[in-house]
């Protein structure tokens, strides 16, 4: 007798809780994917496509769905990978050896003597930072270039170089002092 009562009671309980959770699932449904937004904020927005996705946002969406590895963002390097791993609560994965450090910011520069005005780089640029038109010399808007290097391979005459930003009074930073007595022994 008591066995049946037990079974019944637990069946009832399970049913009640199931209904409660079912109701909650409907009541607290989440629209969209806030996770993708959060990850997108952490990505460097170079839109370089080195992760294999057509931009930072698609990569963020793939990450949020759990379809992509966390270690694909080359420009962001290890710090970004760790941030993403923390957001997604997964184990950090080592980057490919060359990309552990976030790359210093580079700018694309078009050698205007060689440029033939083929507009291929203009099409490749994800942030519309190259101006020019057919058979006219092209140039890079320095301020808008994200350093994604997408324009380099498409240039048929190899006239695009990536250069480092020169240090000047505007971007110079006080160096960090050597750690005071780092005790390791």
């Amino acid at each position: 007798m008591s066995m049946f009562a037990g079974i019944l009671i637990f069946l009832g309980l399970a049913l009640a809780f199931g209904l409660l959770l079912g109701y909650a699932a409907v009541r607290f449904r989440i629209e969209g994917n806030p996770l993708a937004e959060i990850i997108d904020k952490k990505l460097p927005q170079t839109q370089c496509g080195q992760c294999g996705y057509p931009g930072c946002k698609p990569y963020a969406e793939a990450l949020a769905k759990g379809e992509a590895e966390v270690n694909l963002c080359i420009p962001g390097g290890e710090p970004t990978m760790i941030e993403i791993a923390e957001i997604l609560q997964v184990e950090p994965k080592p980057m490919q050896a060359e990309a552990t450090e976030p790359k210093p910011k580079m700018l694309a520069v078009i050698d205007e003597d060689i440029c033939i005005g083929c507009v291929l780089c203009i099409k490749a640029c994800p942030v519309d930072a190259i101006i020019g038109t057919t058979k006219m010399m092209h140039t890079v808007i320095e301020k808008e270039c994200t350093g994604c290097e997408l324009c380099v391979p498409v240039c048929p005459v190899d006239c695009i170089d990536m250069v480092m930003e020169k240090p000047n009074l505007k971007n110079w930073k006080w160096p960090e002092p050597k750690a005071a007595a780092e005790r390791t022994e």
């Binding site: 997108d40 460097p44 927005q45 170079t46 839109q47 931009g55 930072c56 946002k57 003597d113 060689i114 033939i116 083929c118 994800p126 942030v127 519309d128 930072a129 808008e144 994200t146 048929p156 005459v157 190899d158 006239c159 240090p167 000047n168 009074l169 971007n171 110079w172 930073k173 006080w174 160096p175 960090e176 002092p177 050597k178 750690a179 005071a180 007595a181 005790r183």
Partner: protein
């Protein structure tokens, strides 16, 4: 008298408890370094010195660098403007002496970074040609706008150390300034240039202050001078007699000369976090700035010289001088007979906030108040923080230096911001009192720079994202438009096709056709129809030549069109290669010529044949090799 007694009492206590001296001033903390001011104070003011070269950086102030408006080889007169202000926050540069512009080039700046930036170099001659009234004043400025324009033209910037263009810190309306404070509290050790300036040019300082007070309808003018400058106080007192300026002696404590500190001391109001002094109706001007204003409004002279203290433990005869801007440091120091020899980096500014310059021949700029030659001492190695809390006691802005240090070191920049890192005035009191010799200020400076960079980066990222989204939207729109066009076309074709069978049936008269044949016929008819419609459209809408092109494209399979594009591409490549080759070939070799011929032949006949393809490839390869060679040669030549 009562105050004197109070001071005496505290000084008495101070002999037992040194920090009792902190009770003498209003603001929190402060330190009492060894002042060493008598070194340079006792000597009389040196007469002017004209160096062999005057190096004038285009950026001697905060904001945008000035733009040179002279050319190399040009003869300039004294007071002539040689660089005009850029848009926005900027200041012009004037020639401190007559002479020839011998270069406009990168020279090392007296800046902590030791970076080289564009400078105008003048070789002074003995002629001393000067432009009288270079600013072209006919009367004293009557309106605020006029006055501010004059300040900008005269290149006057805050000469206390910040180098903020003076015109930009003044309000546009009168009555916005309640208190005008004359800053004569020169609190850094060793420096005496403001002291000397007040002793020798007190009336000029007072005239400028009264003029500004008049123009801006200022309620109160206060002059704050530290008690350790009795002669300056006496001189200023005489000059201030019978004027509305109130002279206040303030306690001798570092950093009394800081804007926030002196304001609090004199009017008892603390400048709130993140606000500027003008927000509470206070404008502070250094005595040197005021003197420069007098020279501008009375004589029409722009800023070309300033008082500089040349002092330090390594000098036999320290002195003060009214130095021309652009005078190299080492020449001034040699005049003071350095002992031992000058083989160590000089300091610009005082020992508390100054920095070692990267090279000793950097020039005096508008913000150089002191050149310090202190032979290097064996510096104490920084040790671990012992959490004594001395830094918090000493901080004049009541921050928590130890916490800031902790977080700055761990790169927890958000936490440092929460602890109001940006209110730090980098006075160096915390580093001064630290028993572990931790370079605290350097940590804060680094953290500030990092935070600024992070914010800048975030902004750029945001912009990049917006641009990317805008581009995506554009591409999407284009695609839709194209699709819509295509759909419209298709619909038109369908319409034609629907009409076509009837025509076909009547014309071809084929009663016994299988379903398949019917379908084929229908397709053929459709194609015909499409051709005709397309051609019609072309004929009406486009030029005749365009039509000729469209015909073969339509009839031939899509493949060939693609090929054609590729061929065109290849041709373009070849052309570029040819260009490259031409550039390299200053002395043309036969090989070069043939290559060019190949390239041009390719250019002429962009056919699809395999032989042409091969030729093209060969040309490409050759051109690439040429380009590589060119690069190599360039490198060699640059080396």
């Amino acid at each position: 008298m009562n105050i004197r007694l109070h001071q005496k009492l505290i000084n008495l206590i101070a002999s037992i408890y040194p920090m009792a001296k902190r009770w003498l001033h209003q603001f929190h903390g402060g330190v009492f370094p060894k002042y060493n001011k008598s070194l340079s104070l006792r000597q009389p003011l040196r007469t002017s010195y004209v160096p062999k070269q005057l190096i004038l950086p285009l950026q001697q102030h905060m904001g945008e660098a000035a733009l040179p408006c002279v050319e190399v080889g040009e003869q300039v007169k004294k007071f002539q403007m040689i660089a005009q202000p850029a848009k926005g926050l900027s200041a012009p540069v004037h020639a401190p002496a007559s002479g020839k512009i011998i270069a406009i080039e990168q020279r090392i700046l007296p800046h902590a970074s030791g970076l080289a930036e564009p400078c105008i170099v003048i070789e002074p001659d003995a002629k001393q040609d000067a432009i009288e009234n270079a600013l072209g004043i006919t009367h004293k400025p009557k309106t605020i706008a006029e006055f501010k324009q004059l300040l900008l033209n005269a290149g006057i910037v805050g000469m206390g150390g910040a180098g903020f263009p003076t015109f930009a810190k003044l309000p546009d309306q009168p009555k916005k300034i309640k208190h005008l404070i004359i800053n004569g509290a020169e609190c850094e050790p060793f420096i005496t240039c403001d002291d000397l300036l007040m002793q020798t040019h007190a009336p000029e300082i007072v005239r400028a202050a009264l003029f500004v007070a008049e123009l801006f309808d200022v309620e109160q003018v206060i002059c704050g001078i530290e008690t350790n400058k009795p002669q300056a106080i006496e001189a200023m007192r005489q000059a201030c007699e019978d004027t509305r300026i109130r002279l206040e002696e303030v306690a001798t404590v570092y950093p009394m000369g800081g804007q926030k500190q002196l304001t609090q001391e004199l009017i008892g109001v603390e400048i709130p976090s993140q606000l500027h002094s003008i927000d509470i109706g206070v404008v502070m001007m250094n005595v040197a700035t005021l003197r420069a204003i007098t020279q501008a409004i009375e004589l029409g002279q722009p800023l070309i010289s300033r008082f500089v203290t040349v002092s330090g433990m390594g000098l036999k005869k320290p002195y003060n001088i009214e130095a021309l801007l652009g005078t190299p440091f080492n020449e001034l120091v040699e005049l003071a007979q350095p002992e031992p020899k000058l083989n160590y980096p000089l300091l610009m500014g005082g020992p508390m906030m100054g920095f070692a310059v990267a090279h000793n021949d950097v020039p005096v700029i508008k913000t150089t108040n002191c050149i310090l030659a202190n032979p290097p001492e064996t510096s104490d190695e920084p040790m671990a923080c012992i959490r004594c809390g001395e830094c918090a006691e000493a901080c004049p802005v009541s921050l928590l230096p130890q916490q800031l240090y902790w977080h700055a070191r761990a790169h927890e920049y958000d936490k440092t911001e929460q602890l109001k890192l940006f209110d730090c005035i980098e006075c160096g009191c915390c580093s001064f009192v630290c028993p572990s010799h931790i370079p605290l200020v350097q940590y804060y400076r680094h953290a500030k720079a990092e935070i600024r960079e992070i914010k800048q980066q975030a902004k750029l990222t945001e912009i990049a994202k917006q641009r990317f989204d805008a581009r995506e939207a554009r591409l999407e729109r284009d695609k839709h438009e194209r699709e819509a066009k295509l759909a419209a076309k298709k619909a038109a074709v369908k319409q034609q096709a629907a009409d076509a069978p009837k025509v076909e049936k009547t014309a071809a008269d084929a009663p016994k056709l299988s379903a398949r044949e019917k379908a084929i016929q229908a397709a053929k008819a459709r194609q015909k129809a499409s051709q005709t419609t397309a051609n019609e459209k072309d004929a009406t809408a486009k030029k005749a030549s365009r039509k000729d092109n469209s015909k073969p494209a339509e009839t031939a399979p899509a493949q060939s069109a693609n090929d054609k594009r590729q061929a065109a591409m290849q041709a373009a490549k070849a052309r570029a290669a040819a260009l490259k080759a031409q550039k390299t070939a200053s002395t043309e070799t036969p090989a070069n010529l043939t290559e060019q011929a190949q390239a041009s032949s390719v250019e002429d006949t962009p056919s699809n044949s395999a032989s042409a393809e091969d030729k093209r490839k060969a040309a490409m390869d050759a051109a690439k090799a040429k380009a590589a060679e060119r690069k190599k040669r360039q490198q060699e030549s640059s080396q």
